[in-house]
């Protein structure tokens, strides 16, 4: 039974990783940059949910947090990232910039909400447990898995079936040629960046009741998030789904059978093993978004 329970735990944690990594990996595929402040939107989502949920309900909280974090992401992209991408080694410049943003955000969070970890309530309708034969499992955790599955399916459909999705793929494949054909790459890049930070905000709302909410959570999750993104192959959507689940499982079983930090150390070991044999990650292919 523990094996089944740990598998479900792994899937739940993996779902959070997948939501967070999706924005990071697509933005990397498009612009070749990594946003260190990605975790800030996740943290903001978690903190906002604590205040919003009792007042406006769960569904409205998710929608409001998505809108707000997407808007803030858009501001960061337009004011911060866009002026830098034309420079030499834009990746490095964006790293330094977003690192600064993340440090400030973490400190401000400490000032606003205090340094003590906060607890987030499970939404009323999703509280309690679900009995599946011999297994009793929290409904909310299953909801997180289902939510992520639906969202990622929609994202994959949007990627392959809509005009915008095809345009995004064309930019990832070759930005110059795509723009020569009339694609407004900067606008699409901004849009995708904002969608990614919005999804990170939603991930924060979902993760609140599962993981704890505290001012340095935007950094503490980065290591495992980077592992997921690298393992999947930077720029690969399918890759982060697979690696998110894999790392979620490794983490859950490591924590259950070894120790609290073993999960992350094992996840790191998996990353090393994969990097030695596949330097581009499991599904990474230069310049291709999948």
């Amino acid at each position: 039974m523990t094996v089944v329970l740990q598998t479900l735990n792994g899937l739940t944690i993996g779902a959070i990783y997948i939501l967070l990594a999706s924005g990071l990996t697509i933005v990397f595929g498009l612009q070749g940059i990594v946003n260190v402040a990605h975790g800030v939107f996740y943290m903001l989502g978690a903190y906002l949910a604590i205040g919003l949920y009792p007042r406006i309900g769960f569904a409205a909280t998710v929608a409001a947090v998505f809108a707000l974090t997407a808007l803030l992401g858009l501001v960061l992209e337009l004011a911060g990232v866009r002026p830098l991408v034309r420079r030499k080694r834009p990746g490095m410049q964006v790293l330094v910039l977003t690192l600064g943003v993340a440090i400030i955000a973490s400190e401000v969070t400490k000032l606003v909400w205090g340094p003590v970890p906060l607890l987030s309530d499970v939404p009323a309708g999703l509280a309690g447990t679900l009995t599946l034969g011999p297994i009793v499992y929290p409904t909310y955790w299953l909801f997180v898995i289902a939510f992520t599955a639906v969202l990622m399916t929609l994202l994959a459909l949007a990627f392959h079936r809509t005009t915008l999705g095809i345009l995004v793929q064309s930019i990832a494949l070759n930005s110059e040629i795509s723009q020569a054909m009339g694609t407004n790459a900067p606008r699409i890049n901004s849009l995708v960046f904002a969608l990614g930070t919005g999804v990170a905000g939603v991930a924060g709302v979902l993760a609140g009741p599962i993981l704890s909410v505290y001012p340095t959570m935007c950094f503490d999750l980065l290591m495992i998030l980077f592992v997921v993104v690298i393992l999947g192959g930077l720029g690969s959507l399918l890759g982060i789904v697979v690696s998110g689940i894999l790392i979620g499982l490794v983490n859950a079983f490591g924590v259950a059978y070894l120790s609290g930090t073993a999960g992350n150390i094992l996840a790191f070991a998996v990353m090393i093993a994969v990097l030695i044999f596949r330097p581009l990650g499991l599904f990474g292919r230069a310049g291709i978004l999948k």
Binding site: G91, M92, L95, L97, L99, L111, L234, G260, T261
Partner: protein
């Protein structure tokens, strides 16, 4: 370029005279302690700068090397009872180079931005390992205190004045070595990789091997700084492996000016002193650090050092 030797000489002169100027005053101990911190942090940032400024590899995991140096010394002193300073330093350097080679092997295989992710993940994994302490070596959260070496040939590192000059000598030597490596044929290939990796590869060089070696070289100097810091503070704490220390290298070097080797020392000097002042005045002084990052990217992407030199030329 021609101004740099003069600036370097001036810095050394100031460092040599500082203890004499302060001798007998109340602040002597405090200022010397701070100055040693600046020198060791400067060496550490120089090591980072070698990698970023000369090879174009942006590491966000230099704490792994710094902390390895610190813990190698601390474990040998506290757990092994080894107190011979040369043995301690050699062991720390060997350990750092090994960690550097492993991290380098992994980093050399991935793209420029992914290096950030890989080095960060490596450092965090090491941090977690030291914190968890599965073999009972590192004393987990508390770190290892009591890192005191024995005197050797009349040189007693526990004397603050002695340590000051030893640190100064090491930093000057470190700078000369790194500058020499950058000028060597090996260094020129690294510069080539920074400028155009594909062409260097087509010229027949094994880019991955060069990158791995470059990370190991950088780890050597970062580990040296870490080892000396452990001896200076007499403790190795898990924080020496934390992401904040990795970030420090980036901050010092980008503030001072990357690709200059001397700039990072200047950056370390400014930040270490500013931290000493600001952290007393404001609890949230890290906001200044974040703001510095943002301001640097937009207004001073090449750092202070090149700007200062240009002004001197006018």
């Amino acid at each position: 370029m021609s101004r740099r030797p003069a600036v370097g000489a001036a810095l050394v002169a100031v460092a040599l005279l500082l203890p004499l100027a302060l001798a007998g005053t109340r602040y002597a101990h405090y200022v010397e302690h701070l100055a040693v911190q600046v020198m060791l942090m400067g060496l550490y940032a120089m090591a980072w700068d070698f990698l970023n400024g000369y090879v174009g590899m942006f590491s966000f995991g230099h704490a792994a090397f710094f902390g390895t140096g610190a813990y190698a010394v601390a474990i040998l002193v506290v757990r092994g009872g080894v107190t011979s300073a040369p043995v301690l330093l050699l062991a720390a350097l060997a350990a750092s180079v090994v960690v550097g080679a492993v991290v380098g092997y992994l980093s050399a295989r991935v793209g420029a931005v992914a290096i950030f992710l890989v080095t960060f993940a490596c450092a965090e994994a090491l941090y977690l390992l030291v914190l968890t302490d599965p073999r009972g070596l590192t004393n987990g959260d508390n770190g290892l205190a009591g890192v005191v070496p024995a005197p050797l040939l009349g040189v007693d590192l526990t004397q603050p004045g002695t340590f000051y000059y030893v640190a100064l000598a090491v930093v000057v030597l470190g700078y000369r070595l790194l500058a020499a490596i950058a000028r060597s044929q090996f260094g020129q290939v690294l510069l080539g990789i920074r400028e155009n990796e594909v062409r260097v590869r087509f010229a027949g060089y094994h880019v991955e091997q060069y990158k791995t070696a470059a990370v190991a070289v950088s780890a050597f100097f970062a580990g040296l700084a870490g080892a000396l810091t452990a001896l200076h503070e007499r403790i190795a704490s898990p924080e020496t492996l934390g992401w904040a220390v990795s970030g420090d290298a980036v901050l010092y070097a980008t503030l001072g000016g990357t690709g200059t080797l001397l700039g990072p020392v200047l950056g370390a000097g400014i930040v270490v002193v500013a931290r000493e002042v600001l952290s007393d005045l404001f609890r949230s002084w890290l906001i200044f650090v974040g703001a510095t990052y943002i301001a640097l990217v937009f207004f001073l992407p090449s750092g202070l050092f090149p700007v200062l030199l240009r002004e001197r030329r006018r």
